[in-house]
C-alpha cells in the first residue's frame, strides 16, 4: 500500500486570526466583550443585514402594501389608467388578500372584477408545458419564458392528471431550488424578448405561485422563497408609479401576507 509523505505545513496561527479584536474581548464574562457585542457588533450586523441579505422589515412591507393599494384604487377611481379589467382584477385580489391577512384597508370602492379570466387558460398552459425541453422550466441558463403565468394556470390541474401533476411538482421544486441557490441572480429568462417591466411581472408571478402553493400544500418552504423574492424586488418598486408591474408586486406581497396568516405563523399586522 503506498504510504503518504506530505510536507507538514506549520505556520503559527493564533487561537483567533484577528488578534487585535480578541485582545479587547478576551473572556466570556468580560464586561467589555459583552458591551462590544451588544453595543457595536450586533447593531452593526443588523445594519448591514439589508445590504447583504436584501431583507426588508415586515412592518415596512405591510405599510407599503396598504399605501400602494390605496394609491392604486385612487388612481383607478380617477380613471387615470384607462380601464384594464385584468389589472383591476389583480388589484382587487391584492386588496382581498391584504384584508384576509388582517391589514386595515378602506372598503373596496370599485366594481368587482373577480370574473375576469386568468391570463392563460389551462389548455394553453398544458401546451406550454408539453413544449418544455425535457419537461423542465428551469435550466442552467435560467427559466423558460412565461414560466410564472403558465405555472399559475397549472395550479388548476385536476387531481386526475397524475402525470402532469408529477411534472408540475418537479418544476415547482426546481424553481424553488433555483431561486434559493441563485438568490438575487435567479429567474433570468431564456431567449428573452420581454420588457423590463414584463420581467418583473414574471418574477412576481413566481412569488405568487410559491405563496399559493405553500398555502395549498401547507409547505412553508415555498413561502420562505416567496418572501425572499418579495424582499429583493422591493427597491425596484419603491418609487414606482402605478403600473402593471406594481399591481403584480402588490399581489405578490398580499399573497405572502395571506399565506403567513393562514398557515398560523403568527403575524404582526400594521
Amino acid at each position: 500500500m503506498p504510504r503518504l509523505r506530505l510536507t507538514t505545513i506549520h505556520e503559527h496561527v493564533p487561537e483567533s486570526n484577528i488578534g487585535a479584536l480578541v485582545a479587547i474581548c478576551p473572556g466570556h464574562n468580560n464586561k467589555r466583550e459583552d458591551m462590544l457585542r451588544q453595543k457595536i457588533i450586533e447593531p452593526l450586523l443588523q445594519a448591514v443585514s439589508p445590504i447583504f441579505d436584501g431583507t426588508i422589515e415586515p412592518l415596512t412591507l405591510q405599510l407599503y402594501l396598504i399605501d400602494q393599494i390605496k394609491r392604486c384604487i385612487r388612481d383607478f377611481s380617477l380613471d387615470r389608467w384607462g380601464h384594464d379589467a385584468a389589472i383591476l382584477r389583480d388589484l382587487e385580489r391584492a386588496y382581498h388578500n391584504a384584508a384576509l391577512a388582517g391589514l386595515e384597508l378602506p372598503i373596496w370602492p370599485l366594481s368587482s372584477y373577480n370574473e375576469v379570466p386568468s391570463k392563460f387558460s389551462l389548455d394553453e398552459a398544458n401546451t406550454w408545458s408539453e413544449a418544455l425541453p425535457k419537461g423542465l422550466c428551469v435550466s442552467r441558463a435560467g427559466i423558460a419564458p412565461k414560466t410564472g403565468a403558465m405555472m399559475l394556470s397549472l395550479l388548476d390541474l385536476p387531481p386526475s392528471e397524475t402525470q402532469r401533476l408529477k411534472q408540475f411538482n418537479r418544476n415547482i421544486e426546481g424553481l424553488m431550488r433555483h431561486v434559493e441557490v441563485r438568490r438575487k441572480d435567479a429567474l433570468l429568462i431564456v431567449r428573452n424578448d420581454q420588457t423590463r417591466a414584463e420581467d418583473w411581472s414574471e418574477k412576481h408571478a413566481i412569488s405568487i405561485l410559491f405563496s399559493r402553493w405553500s398555502r395549498e400544500q401547507r409547505d412553508v418552504r415555498f413561502l420562505n422563497s416567496a418572501l425572499k423574492l418579495n424582499d429583493w424586488a422591493h427597491h425596484t418598486h419603491l418609487k414606482c408609479s402605478p403600473s402593471r408591474a406594481l399591481v403584480d408586486y402588490l399581489l405578490a406581497l398580499s399573497e405572502a401576507e395571506r399565506t403567513f396568516v393562514e398557515m398560523e405563523l403568527e403575524n404582526e399586522c400594521a
Binding site: L6, E15, C25, F52, D53, L227
Partner: protein, 286 residues
C-alpha cells in the same frame, strides 16, 4: 481502518477534536488531514452571495470570538475539548504532535487534495466542513466520506434543519398535542451518512436525537448539537469498525430539501419552539 479528515479551516474546534479522538481510538488510524485556507476570494464571493449576514456572524463567532463565544456549561464543544485534553494551537500544530501529514489547499476538490488523499489510501474520509465535495474526492476512499448532518435524515435535508422541523405543521401539532403524542423523540438531532453528489442524499448510517430541554432556544440547541456531532461521528466510526453499522440507501421521496430561512419565518419558528419547549419538555419529564 485508515481515516483521512477534511477540515474547513485550521482553527476549527470540531476538526481538531475529531482529529485527536480518531488518532487516539484503537483500530482507527488517522492517515492524512486536508485543510482549506481560511480565505480565498472565489469562496468568499460565493459564500457571501449564499449566506449573507450569516457568514459575517459565523466569521465573527469563529474567527473573532473563538473560545469566548461559548458559555462555561458542561455541554459545549469547548468543555468537551477541555475534558479530552485538546492541546492549544491550530490543526497544523496538532497534526505535528500526532505525526500526521497535513496539506493546505484552496479547495477540497483541488487536484492536489485528490492526489494527497489517494496517496494516503483511506478506507474512510471524515468530513468536518468545507463546502461541496465533488465526485473526484467522493470516489477516493474505499467505503466513502462520512458527514454528520445537523438534522434528522431522510426527512430534513439541507440548511437550517434545526429550525425547520418546528414549521412542519403535522410534526408540530403532533408534539404539542396532549393526546396521542408520538413515542419517538422530536425530529431534532444529527445524522451520520455517506456523502454522494446530492445534498444530504447519501446512504444513511445512524441518527442521534437531541432532547429539547426547558428554556431551550435555537442558540442553546445549536450549542448542544456540536458535541453531539462529535460523539455521533465517533460512535459511527466505532460501529463501522466493529461491523455493527452498515450504510442504508435513502430514497429521494423520503425527505425534502430545506434552504436558508427568511428572518420572518425564523421568527415564527422561534415562537413555536417557545410553545414546544414548555409543552413537550414537561410531558417528557413525567
Amino acid at each position: 481502518m485508515r481515516i483521512a479528515l477534511l477540515a474547513p479551516i485550521d482553527n476549527s474546534f470540531y476538526s481538531r477534536i475529531m482529529s485527536l479522538l480518531i488518532a487516539r481510538e484503537e483500530g482507527l488510524e488517522l492517515s492524512c488531514i486536508v485543510v482549506r485556507k481560511v480565505w480565498t476570494w472565489r469562496r468568499m464571493k460565493g459564500e457571501i452571495q449564499r449566506d449573507g449576514t450569516r457568514l459575517l456572524r459565523k466569521a465573527y463567532r469563529k474567527l473573532i470570538l473563538g473560545k469566548s463565544a461559548y458559555s462555561k456549561d458542561d455541554d459545549t464543544i469547548v468543555a468537551m475539548a477541555k475534558s479530552i485534553g485538546l492541546p492549544e494551537g491550530d490543526l497544523y500544530q496538532l497534526a505535528e504532535q500526532l505525526n500526521v501529514p497535513i496539506l493546505r489547499v484552496d479547495d477540497h476538490n483541488d487536484p492536489e487534495a485528490e492526489a494527497a488523499l489517494t496517496q494516503s489510501a483511506p478506507d474512510l474520509i471524515v468530513f468536518t466542513g468545507g463546502g461541496i465535495i465533488r465526485k473526484n474526492i467522493i470516489n477516493v476512499p474505499d467505503i466513502g466520506i462520512i458527514n454528520c448532518h445537523c438534522g434528522i435524515l431522510p426527512p430534513y435535508r439541507g440548511m437550517d434543519v434545526v429550525e425547520w422541523p418546528l414549521l412542519d405543521e403535522t410534526v408540530f401539532r403532533a408534539y404539542t398535542s396532549r393526546l396521542d403524542r408520538p413515542l419517538e423523540p422530536f425530529p431534532l438531532g444529527v445524522t451520520t451518512h455517506l456523502m454522494d453528489t446530492g445534498i444530504d442524499t447519501g446512504p444513511l448510517l445512524k441518527s442521534f436525537y437531541l432532547p429539547i430541554e426547558k428554556g431551550d432556544t435555537f442558540e442553546s440547541l445549536r450549542v448542544r448539537i456540536e458535541p453531539l456531532m462529535i460523539n455521533a461521528v465517533m460512535a459511527t466510526l466505532r460501529g463501522m469498525r466493529d461491523g455493527q453499522i452498515e450504510p442504508k440507501a435513502q430514497k429521494k421521496v423520503d425527505g425534502k430539501q430545506y434552504f436558508v430561512m427568511h428572518p420572518r419565518i425564523k421568527q415564527a419558528a422561534r415562537k413555536r419552539l417557545s410553545v414546544l419547549e414548555k409543552e413537550y419538555w414537561y410531558e417528557t419529564k413525567k
